[in-house]
Protein backbone atom coordinates (compact mmCIF):
# COMPACT_ATOMS: atom_id res chain seq x y z
CA UNK A 1 0.00 0.00 0.00
CA UNK A 2 1.32 3.42 -0.91
CA UNK A 3 1.30 6.00 1.83
CA UNK A 4 -0.14 9.32 0.73
CA UNK A 5 0.89 11.14 3.87
CA UNK A 6 3.38 10.08 6.49
CA UNK A 7 4.18 12.24 9.49
CA UNK A 8 6.82 11.19 11.95
CA UNK A 9 7.19 13.07 15.19
CA UNK A 10 5.87 16.28 13.71
CA UNK A 11 5.43 19.37 15.90
CA UNK A 12 4.05 22.69 14.71
CA UNK A 13 4.09 25.82 16.84
CA UNK A 14 3.12 29.45 16.44
CA UNK A 15 5.63 32.02 17.61
CA UNK A 16 4.26 34.74 19.79
CA UNK A 17 6.50 37.61 18.75
CA UNK A 18 5.96 39.91 21.70
CA UNK A 19 6.28 37.47 24.50
CA UNK A 20 8.74 35.19 22.76
CA UNK A 21 7.21 31.86 23.45
CA UNK A 22 5.89 29.20 21.13
CA UNK A 23 2.35 27.90 21.26
CA UNK A 24 2.58 24.29 20.15
CA UNK A 25 -0.56 23.45 18.17
CA UNK A 26 0.63 20.01 17.07
CA UNK A 27 2.97 18.03 19.28
CA UNK A 28 5.09 15.08 18.11
CA UNK A 29 2.39 13.43 16.04
CA UNK A 30 2.92 10.24 14.05
CA UNK A 31 0.37 9.54 11.37
CA UNK A 32 0.06 7.54 8.17
CA UNK A 33 -2.67 8.00 5.59
CA UNK A 34 -2.84 5.39 2.87
CA UNK A 35 -3.57 6.25 -0.73
CA UNK A 36 -7.31 6.07 -1.37
CA UNK A 37 -8.24 6.55 2.26
CA UNK A 38 -10.92 8.96 3.37
CA UNK A 39 -9.32 10.14 6.57
CA UNK A 40 -10.87 12.41 9.14
CA UNK A 41 -9.25 14.54 11.82
CA UNK A 42 -11.79 15.18 14.55
CA UNK A 43 -11.25 17.59 17.37
CA UNK A 44 -12.62 20.57 19.23
CA UNK A 45 -11.28 24.10 18.76
CA UNK A 46 -7.65 24.43 19.77
CA UNK A 47 -6.91 20.76 19.16
CA UNK A 48 -4.50 21.55 16.32
CA UNK A 49 -6.50 19.79 13.62
CA UNK A 50 -6.56 22.73 11.21
CA UNK A 51 -2.86 23.47 11.74
CA UNK A 52 -2.01 19.88 10.93
CA UNK A 53 -4.17 19.89 7.82
CA UNK A 54 -2.62 23.17 6.70
CA UNK A 55 0.82 21.59 7.03
CA UNK A 56 -0.22 18.77 4.72
CA UNK A 57 -1.74 21.23 2.25
CA UNK A 58 1.47 23.28 2.40
CA UNK A 59 -0.19 26.49 3.47
CA UNK A 60 1.38 27.15 6.85
CA UNK A 61 1.85 30.84 7.64
CA UNK A 62 5.44 32.12 7.91
CA UNK A 63 5.50 32.71 11.69
CA UNK A 64 5.42 28.99 12.35
CA UNK A 65 8.13 26.65 13.59
CA UNK A 66 8.16 22.97 12.72
CA UNK A 67 9.98 19.90 13.99
CA UNK A 68 9.94 16.35 12.74
CA UNK A 69 9.34 15.04 9.25
CA UNK A 70 6.38 15.04 6.88
CA UNK A 71 6.36 12.95 3.73
CA UNK A 72 3.82 13.30 0.95
CA UNK A 73 4.04 10.36 -1.46
CA UNK A 74 7.62 9.78 -0.27
CA UNK A 75 8.59 13.37 -1.01
CA UNK A 76 10.02 15.05 2.07
CA UNK A 77 7.85 18.15 2.50
CA UNK A 78 8.82 19.19 6.01
CA UNK A 79 12.27 18.30 7.27
CA UNK A 80 12.69 19.72 10.75
CA UNK A 81 12.52 23.47 10.18
CA UNK A 82 12.86 23.52 6.39
CA UNK A 83 9.84 23.20 4.11
CA UNK A 84 9.71 22.26 0.48
CA UNK A 85 6.24 22.22 -1.00
CA UNK A 86 7.32 23.04 -4.57
CA UNK A 87 5.50 20.77 -6.96
CA UNK A 88 3.29 19.48 -4.16
CA UNK A 89 1.13 22.41 -3.21
CA UNK A 90 -1.79 22.69 -5.62
CA UNK A 91 -0.58 19.81 -7.80
CA UNK A 92 -0.40 16.79 -5.54
CA UNK A 93 -2.32 18.26 -2.63
CA UNK A 94 -5.14 20.67 -3.11
CA UNK A 95 -7.30 22.38 -0.58
CA UNK A 96 -10.97 23.20 -0.08
CA UNK A 97 -11.35 26.22 2.17
CA UNK A 98 -13.82 26.40 5.00
CA UNK A 99 -16.19 29.16 4.01
CA UNK A 100 -17.45 29.09 0.40
CA UNK A 101 -18.98 32.56 0.70
CA UNK A 102 -15.69 34.31 1.39
CA UNK A 103 -13.30 32.09 -0.54
CA UNK A 104 -14.32 33.11 -4.06
CA UNK A 105 -13.52 36.53 -5.45
CA UNK A 106 -16.62 38.60 -6.17
CA UNK A 107 -14.86 40.25 -9.15
CA UNK A 108 -14.08 37.09 -11.10
CA UNK A 109 -16.32 34.70 -12.97
CA UNK A 110 -16.11 31.03 -12.10
CA UNK A 111 -14.16 30.42 -15.32
CA UNK A 112 -11.55 33.01 -14.24
CA UNK A 113 -11.23 31.27 -10.89
CA UNK A 114 -10.38 28.02 -12.65
CA UNK A 115 -7.97 29.75 -15.02
CA UNK A 116 -6.05 31.52 -12.24
CA UNK A 117 -5.54 28.29 -10.35
CA UNK A 118 -4.69 26.10 -13.34
CA UNK A 119 -2.37 28.68 -14.92
CA UNK A 120 -0.36 28.92 -11.73
CA UNK A 121 -0.20 25.23 -10.91
CA UNK A 122 -0.19 23.43 -14.26
CA UNK A 123 0.67 26.27 -16.72
CA UNK A 124 -2.59 25.72 -18.62
CA UNK A 125 -3.74 28.20 -21.22
CA UNK A 126 -7.32 29.48 -21.33
CA UNK A 127 -8.61 26.83 -23.71
CA UNK A 128 -7.09 23.96 -21.74
CA UNK A 129 -8.28 25.37 -18.43
CA UNK A 130 -11.80 25.74 -19.77
CA UNK A 131 -11.87 22.11 -20.79
CA UNK A 132 -10.51 20.99 -17.43
CA UNK A 133 -13.06 23.20 -15.68
CA UNK A 134 -16.02 21.73 -17.56
CA UNK A 135 -14.82 18.23 -16.81
CA UNK A 136 -14.41 19.00 -13.11
CA UNK A 137 -17.79 20.71 -12.90
CA UNK A 138 -19.42 17.64 -14.39
CA UNK A 139 -17.86 15.50 -11.68
CA UNK A 140 -19.41 17.64 -8.95
CA UNK A 141 -22.79 17.70 -10.64
CA UNK A 142 -22.79 21.26 -11.99
CA UNK A 143 -23.67 22.51 -15.42
CA UNK A 144 -21.07 24.25 -17.61
CA UNK A 145 -23.33 27.30 -17.53
CA UNK A 146 -21.94 28.33 -14.15
CA UNK A 147 -18.60 29.17 -15.81
CA UNK A 148 -19.99 32.53 -16.86
CA UNK A 149 -21.53 33.24 -13.45
CA UNK A 150 -20.11 35.34 -10.67
CA UNK A 151 -19.96 33.73 -7.20
CA UNK A 152 -22.86 35.80 -5.84
CA UNK A 153 -25.16 34.32 -8.45
CA UNK A 154 -24.70 30.85 -6.96
CA UNK A 155 -26.20 29.40 -3.80
CA UNK A 156 -23.99 28.40 -0.87
CA UNK A 157 -24.15 24.75 -1.82
CA UNK A 158 -23.19 25.51 -5.43
CA UNK A 159 -20.28 27.70 -4.31
CA UNK A 160 -19.04 24.82 -2.19
CA UNK A 161 -19.30 22.53 -5.23
CA UNK A 162 -17.34 25.02 -7.33
CA UNK A 163 -14.57 25.03 -4.72
CA UNK A 164 -14.50 21.25 -4.77
CA UNK A 165 -14.37 21.32 -8.58
CA UNK A 166 -11.42 23.76 -8.52
CA UNK A 167 -9.60 21.41 -6.16
CA UNK A 168 -10.34 18.52 -8.52
CA UNK A 169 -9.40 20.27 -11.76
CA UNK A 170 -5.69 20.19 -11.04
CA UNK A 171 -5.86 16.39 -10.78
CA UNK A 172 -4.58 16.47 -7.24
CA UNK A 173 -4.13 13.11 -5.58
CA UNK A 174 -4.90 14.40 -2.10
CA UNK A 175 -7.71 16.80 -1.23
CA UNK A 176 -7.68 18.51 2.14
CA UNK A 177 -11.09 19.85 3.20
CA UNK A 178 -11.23 22.12 6.22
CA UNK A 179 -14.66 21.95 7.89
CA UNK A 180 -16.41 21.45 4.54
CA UNK A 181 -19.88 21.54 6.07
CA UNK A 182 -19.71 24.01 8.92
CA UNK A 183 -20.56 27.13 6.92
CA UNK A 184 -23.51 25.73 4.97
CA UNK A 185 -27.07 25.00 5.99
CA UNK A 186 -27.93 21.69 7.57
CA UNK A 187 -29.98 20.39 4.67
CA UNK A 188 -27.08 20.86 2.22
CA UNK A 189 -24.50 19.12 4.38
CA UNK A 190 -25.52 15.63 3.40
CA UNK A 191 -25.17 16.30 -0.31
CA UNK A 192 -21.72 17.92 0.01
CA UNK A 193 -20.50 14.98 2.07
CA UNK A 194 -22.04 12.56 -0.36
CA UNK A 195 -20.13 14.29 -3.15
CA UNK A 196 -16.81 14.09 -1.28
CA UNK A 197 -17.46 10.42 -0.63
CA UNK A 198 -18.15 9.85 -4.33
CA UNK A 199 -14.91 11.56 -5.37
CA UNK A 200 -13.02 9.38 -2.95
CA UNK A 201 -14.59 6.15 -4.21
CA UNK A 202 -14.86 6.78 -7.93
CA UNK A 203 -11.81 8.90 -8.64
CA UNK A 204 -9.52 7.42 -5.98
CA UNK A 205 -8.78 10.80 -4.47
CA UNK A 206 -7.25 10.56 -1.03
CA UNK A 207 -9.40 12.67 1.23
CA UNK A 208 -8.46 14.42 4.46
CA UNK A 209 -11.44 16.02 6.18
CA UNK A 210 -10.98 18.25 9.20
CA UNK A 211 -14.09 18.60 11.32
CA UNK A 212 -15.52 18.93 14.78
CA UNK A 213 -18.60 16.97 13.81
CA UNK A 214 -18.24 13.25 14.49
CA UNK A 215 -21.59 12.50 12.89
CA UNK A 216 -20.61 13.77 9.46
CA UNK A 217 -17.31 11.89 9.46
CA UNK A 218 -19.04 8.63 10.09
CA UNK A 219 -20.72 8.99 6.72
CA UNK A 220 -17.73 9.66 4.49
CA UNK A 221 -14.56 8.55 6.18
CA UNK A 222 -13.24 5.05 6.58
CA UNK A 223 -10.56 6.07 9.06
CA UNK A 224 -10.40 8.76 11.69
CA UNK A 225 -8.14 10.25 14.31
CA UNK A 226 -9.36 12.12 17.37
CA UNK A 227 -7.12 15.05 18.29
CA UNK A 228 -6.83 16.72 21.66
CA UNK A 229 -4.36 19.45 22.58
CA UNK A 230 -2.14 18.79 19.59
CA UNK A 231 -2.02 15.02 20.00
CA UNK A 232 -3.83 12.10 18.48
CA UNK A 233 -5.52 10.32 21.38
CA UNK A 234 -7.36 7.67 19.41
CA UNK A 235 -7.21 6.47 15.83
CA UNK A 236 -8.52 3.59 13.82
CA UNK A 237 -11.20 2.52 11.38
CA UNK A 238 -14.26 4.73 11.73
CA UNK A 239 -16.48 1.74 12.43
CA UNK A 240 -14.34 0.37 15.21
CA UNK A 241 -13.72 3.76 16.86
CA UNK A 242 -17.38 4.78 16.83
CA UNK A 243 -18.76 1.36 17.65
CA UNK A 244 -16.24 0.73 20.34
CA UNK A 245 -14.72 4.01 21.55
CA UNK A 246 -11.88 3.46 23.98
CA UNK A 247 -10.39 6.77 25.04
CA UNK A 248 -12.41 8.59 27.73
CA UNK A 249 -12.29 11.73 25.57
CA UNK A 250 -13.79 9.99 22.52
CA UNK A 251 -16.44 8.46 24.75
CA UNK A 252 -17.32 11.87 26.13
CA UNK A 253 -17.55 13.41 22.65
CA UNK A 254 -19.99 10.70 21.62
CA UNK A 255 -21.99 11.27 24.82
CA UNK A 256 -22.33 14.96 23.92
CA UNK A 257 -23.84 14.60 20.45
CA UNK A 258 -27.60 15.14 20.39
CA UNK A 259 -29.39 12.29 18.68
CA UNK A 260 -32.66 13.09 16.99
CA UNK A 261 -35.64 11.23 18.33
CA UNK A 262 -33.64 9.51 21.07
CA UNK A 263 -34.01 10.89 24.57
CA UNK A 264 -30.69 10.31 26.25
CA UNK A 265 -29.11 12.72 28.69
CA UNK A 266 -26.06 14.60 27.40
CA UNK A 267 -23.09 13.80 29.55
CA UNK A 268 -20.34 16.38 29.17
CA UNK A 269 -17.43 16.27 31.57
CA UNK A 270 -16.68 19.49 33.45
CA UNK A 271 -13.85 21.69 32.25
CA UNK A 272 -12.70 22.70 28.79
CA UNK A 273 -10.05 21.42 26.39
CA UNK A 274 -6.63 22.66 27.48
CA UNK A 275 -4.73 25.14 25.36
CA UNK A 276 -1.13 24.13 25.13
CA UNK A 277 1.63 26.65 25.58
CA UNK A 278 4.47 24.52 26.84
CA UNK A 279 5.17 21.18 25.31
CA UNK A 280 4.93 19.05 28.43
CA UNK A 281 4.83 15.29 28.23
CA UNK A 282 1.62 14.66 30.20
CA UNK A 283 -1.67 13.11 29.24
CA UNK A 284 -3.67 15.97 27.67
CA UNK A 285 -6.96 14.71 29.12
CA UNK A 286 -5.70 14.18 32.67
CA UNK A 287 -7.53 17.10 34.30
CA UNK A 288 -10.95 16.19 32.96
CA UNK A 289 -10.60 12.44 32.99
CA UNK A 290 -12.89 10.68 35.49
CA UNK A 291 -10.53 7.70 35.66
CA UNK A 292 -7.20 9.50 35.93
CA UNK A 293 -4.50 7.64 37.86
CA UNK A 294 -1.09 8.73 39.20
CA UNK A 295 0.64 7.46 36.09
CA UNK A 296 -1.23 10.03 33.96
CA UNK A 297 1.30 12.78 34.73
CA UNK A 298 3.45 11.02 32.16
CA UNK A 299 2.50 10.95 28.51
CA UNK A 300 1.08 7.60 27.42
CA UNK A 301 2.23 6.05 24.12
CA UNK A 302 -0.17 5.41 21.24
CA UNK A 303 -0.74 1.66 21.52
CA UNK A 304 -3.03 -0.90 19.89
CA UNK A 305 -6.17 -1.74 21.78
CA UNK A 306 -9.01 -4.26 21.51
CA UNK A 307 -9.43 -6.92 18.85
CA UNK A 308 -9.90 -4.63 15.86
CA UNK A 309 -6.81 -4.15 13.72
CA UNK A 310 -5.19 -0.73 13.58
CA UNK A 311 -7.18 0.71 16.46
CA UNK A 312 -4.77 2.74 18.59
CA UNK A 313 -5.33 4.69 21.75
CA UNK A 314 -3.22 6.97 23.92
CA UNK A 315 -4.20 6.11 27.47
CA UNK A 316 -2.42 4.48 30.38
CA UNK A 317 -5.55 2.88 31.81
CA UNK A 318 -6.38 1.05 28.60
CA UNK A 319 -2.95 -0.01 27.46
CA UNK A 320 -1.44 -0.85 30.83
CA UNK A 321 0.95 1.05 33.03
CA UNK A 322 4.13 -0.55 31.75
CA UNK A 323 6.27 1.66 29.59
CA UNK A 324 7.27 0.86 26.04
Amino acid sequence: MVLAVRASGISIGYIDEEEEYIVWAVRRVDLAIEEGDAFCLVGESGSGKTTFANAIAGILPPHVVTRGKLYIFDRLAIDESTWNFNGLRGRVVSYIPQNPGTSLSPFLTIEEHFYHVLRDTLRYDREKSRRAAIEALLKVGLDRGVLEDYPHELSGGMQQRVLIAIALASNAKIIVADEPTSAIDANLRASVLQLLGKLNREYRVTLLIVTHDLASTSIVCNRLAVMLAGKIVETGRTISVLRNPQHPYTKMLLDCIPLLGVKKPLKPLPGEPIQVVEDKAICPFRERCPRAIDKCVEEPPLKPVGDEESHYVKCWILTGGESE
Binding site: E44, N187, S191, D213, I219, P258, L259, G261, L266
Partner: protein, 276 residues
Protein backbone atom coordinates in the same frame (compact mmCIF):
# COMPACT_ATOMS: atom_id res chain seq x y z
CA UNK B 1 -54.87 30.17 30.13
CA UNK B 2 -51.98 32.32 31.09
CA UNK B 3 -50.34 33.15 27.82
CA UNK B 4 -47.22 35.13 28.50
CA UNK B 5 -46.45 36.05 24.90
CA UNK B 6 -48.65 36.24 21.88
CA UNK B 7 -47.90 37.26 18.31
CA UNK B 8 -50.99 38.16 16.32
CA UNK B 9 -50.62 38.19 12.55
CA UNK B 10 -47.22 39.87 12.69
CA UNK B 11 -45.68 41.02 9.43
CA UNK B 12 -42.28 42.60 9.79
CA UNK B 13 -39.34 43.59 7.66
CA UNK B 14 -36.48 45.97 7.09
CA UNK B 15 -36.30 49.17 5.12
CA UNK B 16 -33.75 49.07 2.39
CA UNK B 17 -32.41 51.61 -0.02
CA UNK B 18 -31.28 50.45 -3.42
CA UNK B 19 -29.75 52.13 -6.39
CA UNK B 20 -27.21 54.88 -6.72
CA UNK B 21 -28.53 57.66 -8.96
CA UNK B 22 -32.19 57.21 -8.30
CA UNK B 23 -32.80 55.90 -4.80
CA UNK B 24 -35.44 53.27 -4.50
CA UNK B 25 -36.69 52.88 -0.98
CA UNK B 26 -38.57 49.78 -0.17
CA UNK B 27 -39.38 47.39 2.60
CA UNK B 28 -38.02 43.87 2.50
CA UNK B 29 -40.66 41.78 4.21
CA UNK B 30 -39.07 39.03 6.28
CA UNK B 31 -41.95 37.76 8.42
CA UNK B 32 -45.37 37.18 6.89
CA UNK B 33 -48.45 36.83 9.00
CA UNK B 34 -46.90 35.08 11.99
CA UNK B 35 -49.17 34.09 14.85
CA UNK B 36 -48.31 31.95 17.86
CA UNK B 37 -48.70 31.94 21.61
CA UNK B 38 -46.31 30.94 24.34
CA UNK B 39 -47.75 29.82 27.68
CA UNK B 40 -46.14 30.57 31.01
CA UNK B 41 -43.40 28.08 31.88
CA UNK B 42 -43.16 26.62 28.39
CA UNK B 43 -40.00 25.76 26.49
CA UNK B 44 -40.43 26.69 22.85
CA UNK B 45 -37.93 26.47 20.00
CA UNK B 46 -38.18 28.39 16.76
CA UNK B 47 -36.38 26.51 14.00
CA UNK B 48 -35.33 27.66 10.58
CA UNK B 49 -32.33 27.92 8.29
CA UNK B 50 -30.46 31.11 7.54
CA UNK B 51 -32.74 33.73 6.04
CA UNK B 52 -35.92 32.21 7.41
CA UNK B 53 -36.57 35.15 9.72
CA UNK B 54 -35.97 33.48 13.05
CA UNK B 55 -33.74 36.23 14.43
CA UNK B 56 -36.26 38.81 13.18
CA UNK B 57 -38.93 37.20 15.37
CA UNK B 58 -36.66 37.71 18.35
CA UNK B 59 -36.11 41.35 17.45
CA UNK B 60 -39.86 41.85 17.32
CA UNK B 61 -40.31 40.16 20.72
CA UNK B 62 -37.47 42.16 22.28
CA UNK B 63 -39.02 45.47 21.27
CA UNK B 64 -36.29 46.26 18.76
CA UNK B 65 -38.27 46.13 15.54
CA UNK B 66 -41.77 47.49 15.14
CA UNK B 67 -43.87 45.19 12.98
CA UNK B 68 -45.44 46.59 9.82
CA UNK B 69 -48.75 45.12 10.89
CA UNK B 70 -49.98 42.88 13.66
CA UNK B 71 -49.64 42.90 17.42
CA UNK B 72 -47.12 41.61 19.92
CA UNK B 73 -48.78 40.94 23.27
CA UNK B 74 -46.61 40.34 26.31
CA UNK B 75 -48.59 39.70 29.49
CA UNK B 76 -51.64 40.65 27.44
CA UNK B 77 -50.35 44.14 26.67
CA UNK B 78 -49.65 45.36 23.18
CA UNK B 79 -45.92 46.03 23.33
CA UNK B 80 -45.64 48.57 20.52
CA UNK B 81 -48.62 50.73 21.51
CA UNK B 82 -47.47 51.21 25.11
CA UNK B 83 -45.76 54.43 26.20
CA UNK B 84 -42.01 53.90 26.28
CA UNK B 85 -41.65 53.78 30.08
CA UNK B 86 -44.26 51.05 30.40
CA UNK B 87 -42.76 49.19 27.49
CA UNK B 88 -39.41 49.24 29.27
CA UNK B 89 -41.04 47.84 32.41
CA UNK B 90 -42.27 44.88 30.40
CA UNK B 91 -39.04 44.36 28.50
CA UNK B 92 -37.12 44.23 31.80
CA UNK B 93 -38.88 40.97 32.49
CA UNK B 94 -37.20 39.40 29.45
CA UNK B 95 -33.64 38.08 29.63
CA UNK B 96 -31.77 37.82 26.34
CA UNK B 97 -28.75 35.74 25.36
CA UNK B 98 -27.35 36.99 22.03
CA UNK B 99 -25.97 34.77 19.31
CA UNK B 100 -22.23 35.19 19.15
CA UNK B 101 -20.32 35.11 22.45
CA UNK B 102 -17.22 36.43 20.68
CA UNK B 103 -18.90 39.60 19.43
CA UNK B 104 -21.45 40.28 22.14
CA UNK B 105 -19.17 41.19 25.04
CA UNK B 106 -17.54 44.58 25.41
CA UNK B 107 -13.79 43.86 25.24
CA UNK B 108 -12.77 46.68 27.60
CA UNK B 109 -15.29 46.19 30.40
CA UNK B 110 -14.58 43.96 33.36
CA UNK B 111 -16.84 40.93 33.68
CA UNK B 112 -18.48 42.26 36.85
CA UNK B 113 -19.71 45.39 35.04
CA UNK B 114 -20.94 43.36 32.07
CA UNK B 115 -22.90 40.99 34.29
CA UNK B 116 -24.17 43.70 36.64
CA UNK B 117 -25.25 46.14 33.92
CA UNK B 118 -28.92 45.10 33.66
CA UNK B 119 -29.43 45.61 37.40
CA UNK B 120 -27.55 48.88 37.39
CA UNK B 121 -29.69 50.09 34.50
CA UNK B 122 -32.78 49.20 36.51
CA UNK B 123 -31.54 51.52 39.26
CA UNK B 124 -30.29 48.99 41.82
CA UNK B 125 -27.50 50.20 44.13
CA UNK B 126 -24.11 48.78 43.26
CA UNK B 127 -23.50 47.13 46.65
CA UNK B 128 -26.57 44.95 46.17
CA UNK B 129 -25.55 44.33 42.60
CA UNK B 130 -22.18 42.91 43.71
CA UNK B 131 -23.87 40.37 45.92
CA UNK B 132 -26.21 39.30 43.16
CA UNK B 133 -23.35 38.98 40.66
CA UNK B 134 -21.70 36.42 42.96
CA UNK B 135 -24.95 34.50 43.14
CA UNK B 136 -25.48 34.28 39.38
CA UNK B 137 -21.86 33.38 38.72
CA UNK B 138 -22.37 30.43 41.04
CA UNK B 139 -25.53 29.45 39.16
CA UNK B 140 -23.81 29.45 35.77
CA UNK B 141 -20.72 27.72 37.15
CA UNK B 142 -18.08 30.41 36.74
CA UNK B 143 -15.34 31.01 39.33
CA UNK B 144 -15.51 34.28 41.31
CA UNK B 145 -11.92 34.96 40.23
CA UNK B 146 -13.01 36.16 36.77
CA UNK B 147 -14.90 39.18 38.16
CA UNK B 148 -12.04 41.53 37.38
CA UNK B 149 -11.04 39.92 34.08
CA UNK B 150 -12.08 41.21 30.68
CA UNK B 151 -13.86 39.05 28.12
CA UNK B 152 -10.68 38.67 26.06
CA UNK B 153 -9.25 36.40 28.74
CA UNK B 154 -12.15 33.94 28.62
CA UNK B 155 -12.84 30.95 26.40
CA UNK B 156 -15.95 30.65 24.23
CA UNK B 157 -17.79 28.49 26.73
CA UNK B 158 -17.00 30.88 29.58
CA UNK B 159 -18.17 33.84 27.51
CA UNK B 160 -21.45 32.10 26.84
CA UNK B 161 -21.83 31.53 30.59
CA UNK B 162 -21.16 35.23 31.21
CA UNK B 163 -23.92 36.10 28.72
CA UNK B 164 -26.30 33.70 30.46
CA UNK B 165 -25.40 35.17 33.88
CA UNK B 166 -26.14 38.62 32.52
CA UNK B 167 -29.47 37.48 31.10
CA UNK B 168 -30.69 35.97 34.37
CA UNK B 169 -29.32 38.51 36.86
CA UNK B 170 -32.50 40.63 36.87
CA UNK B 171 -34.65 37.55 37.51
CA UNK B 172 -36.47 37.55 34.18
CA UNK B 173 -39.64 35.60 33.62
CA UNK B 174 -38.92 35.00 29.96
CA UNK B 175 -35.51 33.87 28.72
CA UNK B 176 -34.85 34.43 25.03
CA UNK B 177 -31.90 32.57 23.47
CA UNK B 178 -30.56 33.26 19.99
CA UNK B 179 -28.58 30.23 18.74
CA UNK B 180 -27.16 29.60 22.23
CA UNK B 181 -24.71 26.89 21.18
CA UNK B 182 -23.92 27.41 17.50
CA UNK B 183 -20.50 28.96 18.16
CA UNK B 184 -19.39 26.29 20.64
CA UNK B 185 -17.68 22.91 20.52
CA UNK B 186 -19.73 19.75 21.06
CA UNK B 187 -18.69 19.09 24.65
CA UNK B 188 -19.21 22.75 25.61
CA UNK B 189 -22.51 22.74 23.74
CA UNK B 190 -23.65 19.83 25.89
CA UNK B 191 -22.55 21.68 29.05
CA UNK B 192 -24.52 24.78 28.05
CA UNK B 193 -27.63 22.76 27.16
CA UNK B 194 -27.55 21.09 30.57
CA UNK B 195 -26.96 24.46 32.27
CA UNK B 196 -29.91 26.09 30.50
CA UNK B 197 -32.18 23.24 31.47
CA UNK B 198 -31.13 23.43 35.11
CA UNK B 199 -31.79 27.19 35.02
CA UNK B 200 -35.21 26.47 33.54
CA UNK B 201 -35.97 24.03 36.33
CA UNK B 202 -34.74 26.15 39.24
CA UNK B 203 -35.78 29.64 38.13
CA UNK B 204 -39.10 28.60 36.54
CA UNK B 205 -38.65 30.79 33.49
CA UNK B 206 -40.36 30.60 30.13
CA UNK B 207 -37.73 29.72 27.57
CA UNK B 208 -37.79 30.70 23.88
CA UNK B 209 -34.88 29.37 21.82
CA UNK B 210 -34.03 30.16 18.24
CA UNK B 211 -31.84 27.60 16.50
CA UNK B 212 -31.14 25.93 13.19
CA UNK B 213 -30.22 22.66 14.87
CA UNK B 214 -33.06 20.21 15.44
CA UNK B 215 -30.92 18.17 17.81
CA UNK B 216 -30.30 21.15 20.08
CA UNK B 217 -33.97 22.14 19.89
CA UNK B 218 -34.98 18.66 21.00
CA UNK B 219 -33.07 19.19 24.24
CA UNK B 220 -34.08 22.81 24.87
CA UNK B 221 -37.77 22.73 24.02
CA UNK B 222 -41.03 20.90 24.47
CA UNK B 223 -42.69 22.56 21.51
CA UNK B 224 -41.29 23.38 18.07
CA UNK B 225 -42.24 26.14 15.69
CA UNK B 226 -40.77 25.56 12.25
CA UNK B 227 -40.20 28.54 10.05
CA UNK B 228 -39.54 28.72 6.34
CA UNK B 229 -39.06 31.95 4.39
CA UNK B 230 -40.88 33.99 7.02
CA UNK B 231 -43.86 31.69 7.44
CA UNK B 232 -44.71 29.08 10.03
CA UNK B 233 -44.91 25.74 8.27
CA UNK B 234 -45.38 23.51 11.26
CA UNK B 235 -46.03 23.73 14.97
CA UNK B 236 -46.36 21.03 17.58
CA UNK B 237 -44.77 19.17 20.47
CA UNK B 238 -41.25 17.85 19.94
CA UNK B 239 -42.32 14.21 19.99
CA UNK B 240 -45.21 14.85 17.64
CA UNK B 241 -43.13 16.75 15.09
CA UNK B 242 -40.22 14.33 15.11
CA UNK B 243 -42.41 11.24 14.97
CA UNK B 244 -44.98 12.45 12.49
CA UNK B 245 -43.94 15.57 10.59
CA UNK B 246 -46.78 17.10 8.61
CA UNK B 247 -45.05 19.43 6.18
CA UNK B 248 -42.61 18.41 3.47
CA UNK B 249 -40.09 20.94 4.71
CA UNK B 250 -40.01 19.47 8.21
CA UNK B 251 -39.60 16.02 6.73
CA UNK B 252 -36.62 17.23 4.72
CA UNK B 253 -35.10 18.82 7.84
CA UNK B 254 -35.41 15.56 9.73
CA UNK B 255 -34.10 13.33 6.97
CA UNK B 256 -31.12 15.55 6.28
CA UNK B 257 -30.09 15.72 9.92
CA UNK B 258 -26.73 14.00 9.98
CA UNK B 259 -26.27 11.70 12.86
CA UNK B 260 -24.80 8.47 13.96
CA UNK B 261 -27.87 6.29 13.82
CA UNK B 262 -27.26 3.69 16.46
CA UNK B 263 -23.59 3.36 17.26
CA UNK B 264 -23.99 -0.39 17.65
CA UNK B 265 -25.19 -0.88 14.13
CA UNK B 266 -23.01 1.37 12.07
CA UNK B 267 -24.15 -0.20 8.84
CA UNK B 268 -27.32 1.79 9.29
CA UNK B 269 -25.47 5.00 8.62
CA UNK B 270 -26.75 6.43 5.42
CA UNK B 271 -26.92 9.83 3.93
CA UNK B 272 -30.56 10.53 3.74
CA UNK B 273 -30.72 14.16 2.68
CA UNK B 274 -30.42 14.95 -1.00
CA UNK B 275 -31.59 18.54 -1.08
CA UNK B 276 -29.58 20.93 -3.15
Amino acid sequence: MSSILELQRVTAGYKSVKGFKSLIKRVEVVLRDISFTVEKGERVAIIGESGSGKTTILRVILGLLKPISGKVLIYGKDLYSLPSDQRLQILRRIGYVPQDPYKSLNPVLKIKYIVGEPLEAAGVEWRYVGERIREVLKIVGLPQSILNDTAEELSGGMRQRVLIARAIIAEPEILVLDEPTSALDVSIQAQIINLLNSIYNTLKVTMITVTHDLGVAQYLADRLIILKSGKIVEEGSVDEVLRDPKSEYTKSLITSYLQITGINSLNNIKIRGQYV
